[in-house]
């Protein structure tokens, strides 16, 4: 099946992520900022989705709400067919540990833990055995090319290396989706390119990726490019796909 079957508002039971009418409004005092104004979106397994759009238009908010990091004010988000916002905080946390990976712009590693300890953290959180977690984390560190730096603390690694540790951490539980919010924002273009290559590599191995970025190059390399404007999805295209005619123009809703 493919995403050209998207039609109307019925949630797709077979999509990995299926959002319907997602609303999010920030309120600080008298100030009300409607950041998401009813978003519908389906993401299938194995897709490499890039989210772009001008600053302040709701990209990060979308990612946080779809992944269940943040609460929503309206709509539903199904992941693996389960409504994550109906789950208790505890269940959602466990779900995150087992089914999701995160990569952030500012790496966000724990400074007092070594690279491998950072990388294995989600596995331990999900209840895996220490030995198994360590082996898996080492595996992933070698996959991102940091086998020899596993004992180093974040402060002893370069930005690109730190981001690669973060990617290893995101992949360690073999998650259903990896969410990345401007993963190359803090990196120079050469390093950014190598991180991007790493993303494609894991995607080719079947990993679903959702990447928020300002980087045109990443956008151009995506299976699917979503443009967010003013809290709504303004465009959903498939730039690198041969089936480019499947793209939808204009807001979905």
């Amino acid at each position: 099946m493919s995403s050209d079957e998207i039609n109307g508002t019925a949630p797709q039971a077979n999509a990995l992520v299926s959002a319907r009418g997602v609303e999010k409004t920030y309120r600080t005092g008298d100030l009300v900022v409607p950041a998401l104004r009813g978003v519908d979106l389906d993401i299938s397994g194995g897709e490499f989705v890039v989210v772009m759009g001008p600053s302040g238009n709701g990209k990060s908010t979308l990612l946080n709400c779809l992944s269940g990091l943040d609460e929503i004010d309206g709509g539903t988000v199904l992941i693996d067919g389960n409504d994550i916002h109906e789950m208790s905080d505890r269940a959602r946390t466990t779900h995150r540990a087992k089914r999701m990976g995160f990569v952030f712009q500012s790496f966000n590693l724990i400074p007092v833990l070594s690279a491998v300890e950072n990388a294995e953290l989600p596995m331990l959180a999900a209840g895996a055995k220490p030995k198994e977690s360590r082996d898996r984390a080492m595996d992933l560190l070698s996959r991102v090319g940091l086998a020899d730096r596993s004992g180093h603390r974040p402060a002893e690694l370069s930005g690109g290396e730190q981001q690669r540790v973060a990617i290893a951490r995101a992949l360690v539980t073999d998650p259903a989706v990896v969410w990345a919010d401007e993963p190359t924002g803090n990196l120079d273009s050469a390093t950014a390119a190598s991180v991007l290559e790493l993303f494609h590599e894991v995607n080719r191995a079947g990993q679903t990726m959702v990447v928020v970025t300002h980087d045109r190059e990443i956008g151009a390399s995506a299976d699917r490019l979503i443009e967010v404007r003013d809290g709504l999805i303004a465009a959903d295209t498939r730039p690198s796909s041969v089936t480019a005619e499947a793209s939808t123009e204009g807001p979905v809703r």
Binding site: D89, T93, T94, R96, I110, E117, L121, A125
Partner: protein, 947 residues
């Protein structure tokens, strides 16, 4: 202390004020940081005010003790400033006249007074209403003269006294009247010898002034005149004297004591009374009050020194955190060209705002704490007449606030100096400051200078206790960089700090002569050194702990996170551990001391009286006789103890002769019927204690060496010769046969043989004290009770020696427990400190916490990590505090000359276990709020936060 604080403030505060007024940029930087995060600012203020509160409380407690005793001085003696002791009633009249004739402007009252202690009874004999008060102070003087004695009639306490009293009338003060259950018009019986005299109560007066000194008052001539003359009252039982009131109020009057003393002496020389004994009763009491106030302040000040030291560590920690939190900000400021000095000054300004608020609030809180301690003290301390009330001198508030402010400002300035030295690049990347090993020549030179200074200090001033303790530690610690060239630094630190730790703990035992009379501040220094050294060693073992932690807590995410943070910041953790350990150290020390005192009670009794288990005193008007006591069924042995004052002649350094009265006990061979008090030192000529005591009781006034036994505190040793002066003015040399430890429990002073009594004393009338051994199967306390019942009309006052020891130690224990309660506040500092530091840690790590939650770590795991962190700090603090406290109390109590010999060392195991549990639970409680906050950090918004 206050002066030092004021000097520090005088140096540190003016620049801050200058910046505040004239440097808008610095003012903005500093003040904005205060107002930016009010909650955080409040935490810093709360942490800093604790130290101020404790210092202020120490002053307030001192004020209260001093003030209470001073107010006693103001009322107890009424108008009486001086008392001149004379030999007889007749002499008193002569002396009074001679003093009046001086017509001195410094004297506004002179009155001859006679005194006797008697038993007074009331109610019908054989009925329930019968009451006998065994010992009542009875004064004989003219109430008409008394009520105008001194400048202020209301101070005499005699305003309502009858002007003229008949010889069958008596005036009582309200306390005695209510004890006896009598009112005006009732009659009372006075017991003298075998007979009684019946007097009518004509007035009941408030216990103040002369009606306070005299619990009962009779007309002149009553004691010596017709009424009592028929009775068996011997002349010797009555003391006579002249009360003198100095011109002026309580204090100006007392200040005249020296002048008036000279005037009285010259007046009496004129009537052939030489060398009279003049007591400056009021001035001495005032001196006592001042001494007591100072003593209490310094005791509480020193004890609170531990808590204040803990408070200082807390303030350091808070400001280090404050600076660490702003590393990026500070780095940016430096990067855009703001000078280091400006950053420091902004920091100092910010700190001064916190410090000033904390000082004011702290002083107020301190008054509250002081009031609490005072209330507790008045409840637990047995203080005969002195009711401890709250007194607060304004100067104490100023001193407390100034000391607290100085401590925090000094901390702020030193911390800011360090933080402003940050590396801009590292700061911008928010990387931890590089820990560069100082292997430079600077540290070597510094080390060498330190070693040299330590050695020189020790050689030059090693007899000063504090130097003897600290100098070797200085030398050892300074040697670390030197030894660090040869062996790994870690090893050098362990070896040398270990050696220094050993020295500090053992110094009381190693240098008994130097440490023989230690100041309490020495214990403060010891505690701080021990904790500091131990914590340093523990911090150095950090890598070892991490490995251990990884082994034990590898699988558990809470444990891993909770341990990783404190292990990553060894210095900060060490500060926290030290803070906790210091407080627990002191509480432990006090607790052990308490246990040792109570375990030593039986030994205390033995040291004081040997096998003599009870003693009984009676009025000298109608004493028990030895035969009478020995004949009782419940008494196995009785020994007469004649206790009187003897005059000691001392040749001062200027070869002047000085004499003073010391208390003496004359004993005969009855005293040797059971084992007398054990001797701690004994002359070589005596085979055993018994031989030495035998030599004492047999010393005759005629020939041979006259042996005596002295008390430990006198400083005399066997073989020393003491010169005594007889009433006739002849000198008699006595030689110390032995020294006993603790006679003060049942009368201290010199033990002499009865054969010397006639030579050394005016008169050898009846003996009014006896030591007793109860008959087989009879308990000493029960014997005392039955003697008290049988001898009530003769003023019997009996007690078991062990009971005296128990009440003595329980008094000490009450005081120590009061100090412990006070120290509990220090524990509060520890808890508050840990809590504050952890709350700040939550804020510092907010982003990380958000990330942890994002990658699927549950909030209970996050909470757990904070609890583990607190427990890790708390555990080390508790182990070090209790361990070092036990070590140091064991050393000082059993190995040093500072405490009495023969203390039985005992550990209050259950109490210590309780302390450990409470302290651990407290550290967990401290982590509760921060842990809950950490668990609630919402991932999305925490991650949005830019650092």
């Amino acid at each position: 202390m206050t002066i030092v604080a004021l000097i520090i403030l005088a140096v540190l505060i003016p620049p801050v004020i200058f910046d505040l007024v004239r440097r808008p940029t610095i003012r903005r930087l500093g003040l904005r940081n205060v107002s930016r995060r009010r909650g955080e600012a409040a935490l810093v203020v709360a942490g800093s005010l604790l130290a101020t509160a404790l210092v202020t409380a120490a002053f307030v407690v001192g004020d209260s003790f001093g003030g209470s005793i001073r107010s006693l001085a103001e009322t107890r003696w009424g108008p009486t400033d001086m008392i001149v002791d004379v030999d007889s009633t007749d002499q008193a009249a002569v002396a009074a006249e001679a003093i009046s004739d001086l017509e001195s402007a410094d004297i506004d009252g002179v009155m001859p007074v006679s005194f006797v202690a008697v038993a007074i009874g009331a109610g019908e004999a054989g009925t329930d209403s019968r009451v006998v008060e065994p010992t009542v102070r009875l004064l004989e003087f003219d109430t008409a003269v008394g009520s105008t004695f001194g400048g202020d009639p209301s101070a005499t306490g005699l305003a309502d006294a009858p002007v003229e009293m008949g010889s069958d009338e008596i005036v009582l003060n309200d306390v005695v009247a209510s004890d006896l259950g009598v009112v005006v018009g009732d009659s009372v019986e006075i017991f003298i010898g075998d007979g009684t005299i019946v007097l009518e109560v004509v007035a009941v007066l408030e216990k103040t002034g002369l009606a306070g000194i005299g619990e009962a008052i009779v007309a002149p001539g009553s004691l010596t005149g017709s009424t009592f003359a028929q009775s068996a009252l011997s002349d010797d039982a009555v003391s006579s004297g002249v009360f003198v009131s100095n011109t002026g109020d309580v204090y100006s009057g007392a200040d005249l004591s020296e002048t008036v003393d000279e005037q009285i002496a010259s007046a009496l020389a004129g009537v052939m009374i030489d060398d009279p004994e003049i007591s400056w009763v009021k001035s001495w009491l005032i001196e006592d009050a001042e001494f007591e106030a100072e003593d209490t302040t310094s005791l509480f000040g020193t004890i609170s020194g531990f808590s204040v030291a803990a408070g200082v560590l807390l303030v350091i920690n808070l400001f280090v955190m404050l600076a660490a939190e702003r590393t990026v900000e500070l780095g940016t400021m430096r990067a855009v060209g703001i000078r280091r000095g400006a950053i420091m000054r902004a920091f100092a300004l910010e700190g001064a705002v916190y410090g000033a608020i904390a000082a004011v609030l702290g002083a107020l809180v301190g008054v509250g704490v002081g009031a609490g301690v005072t209330a507790y003290a008045s409840a637990v301390l047995p203080t005969d007449d002195v009711g401890i009330r709250l007194f607060v001198e304004p100067s104490s508030l100023v001193a407390g606030a100034a000391i607290g402010f100085a401590i925090s400002q000094l901390t702020v300035v030193l911390t800011s100096f360090r933080t402003s030295k940050l590396n801009i690049i590292r700061a911008l990347k928010d990387m931890p400051a590089q820990s560069h090993r100082e292997r430079s020549w600077k540290s070597l030179v510094g080390g060498a200078v330190g070693v040299a200074a330590g050695v020189v200090l020790y050689v030059m001033a090693g007899t000063t206790p504090i130097i003897a303790m600290v100098a070797p530690v200085l030398a050892l610690v300074s040697a670390i960089p030197l030894l660090g060239r040869l062996v790994p630094t870690r090893m050098a630190i362990i070896a040398l700090c270990g050696a220094a730790l050993f020295w500090t703990a053992a110094v009381f035992g190693l240098l008994p002569d130097v440490m023989d009379d230690p100041d309490i501040s020495l214990f403060l220094a010891q505690g701080i050194l021990l904790v500091g050294l131990a914590v340093t060693m523990v911090a150095v073992l950090e890598r070892f702990w991490s490995r251990l932690a990884r082994l034990g807590g590898g699988a558990n995410v809470s444990a891993r996170l909770g341990l990783a943070h404190p292990l990553d910041r060894p210095v900060r953790s060490a500060l926290l551990i030290a803070m906790y350990a210091l407080v627990i150290f002191t509480v432990t020390f006090m607790g052990v001391m308490n246990a040792v005192f109570s375990a030593s009670t039986p030994e205390l009794a033995n040291q004081a009286a040997g096998s003599w288990a009870a003693l009984v005193d009676t009025n000298n008007t109608s004493p028990f006789t030895t035969e009478e006591l020995a004949a009782r069924d419940d008494v196995a042995h009785a020994a007469a103890i004649r206790t009187r004052g003897v005059e000691v002649v001392e040749i001062t350094e200027g070869l002047d002769e000085e004499t003073f009265f010391t208390r003496a006990q004359f004993v005969d061979d009855q005293f040797l019927a059971v084992s007398p008090p054990p001797l701690t030192l004994r002359g070589d000529e005596f085979a055993d204690d018994a031989a030495a005591w035998e030599a004492v009781v047999e010393s005759s006034s005629v020939d041979g060496t006259k042996w005596v036994v002295m008390q430990d505190w006198s400083g005399e040793i066997p073989g020393d010769v003491i010169t005594l002066r007889t009433p006739d003015g002849d000198d008699v040399d006595v030689t110390v046969a032995g020294v006993m430890a603790n006679g003060w429990l049942v009368g201290s002073g010199m033990y002499l043989g009865e054969p010397l009594a006639p030579t050394l004393l005016n008169s050898v009338d009846a003996v009014w004290r006896h030591f007793l051994v109860p008959a087989d199967g009879m308990d000493a306390s029960a014997l005392a009770a039955s003697l008290n019942a049988d001898g009530v009309e003769r003023g019997a006052d009996a007690a078991a020696v062990l009971d005296l020891a128990i009440s003595e130690t329980s008094e000490q224990e009450a005081f120590i427990s009061m100090l412990q309660g006070y120290l509990g506040l220090g524990l509060l500092i520890g808890i508050a400190g840990l809590g504050v530091v952890l709350v700040r840690a939550v804020r510092e790590r907010r982003r990380q916490l958000g990330m942890l939650r994002a990658v699927g770590i549950r909030s209970e795991t996050v909470r757990g990590s904070f609890i583990v962190e607190a427990a890790f700090i708390g555990f080390q603090g508790v182990v070090l505090g209790i361990g070092l406290g036990v070590l140091s109390s064991w050393q000082t109590l059993t190995r040093s000359a500072a405490f009495e010999e023969g203390l039985t060392f005992a550990l209050p195991y259950r109490w210590l276990a309780m302390l450990a549990v409470i302290a651990l639970v407290a550290s967990l409680l401290a982590s509760l709020v921060p842990a809950i906050r950490a668990g609630r950090v919402p991932p999305a918004s925490a991650l949005r936060m830019t650092s």
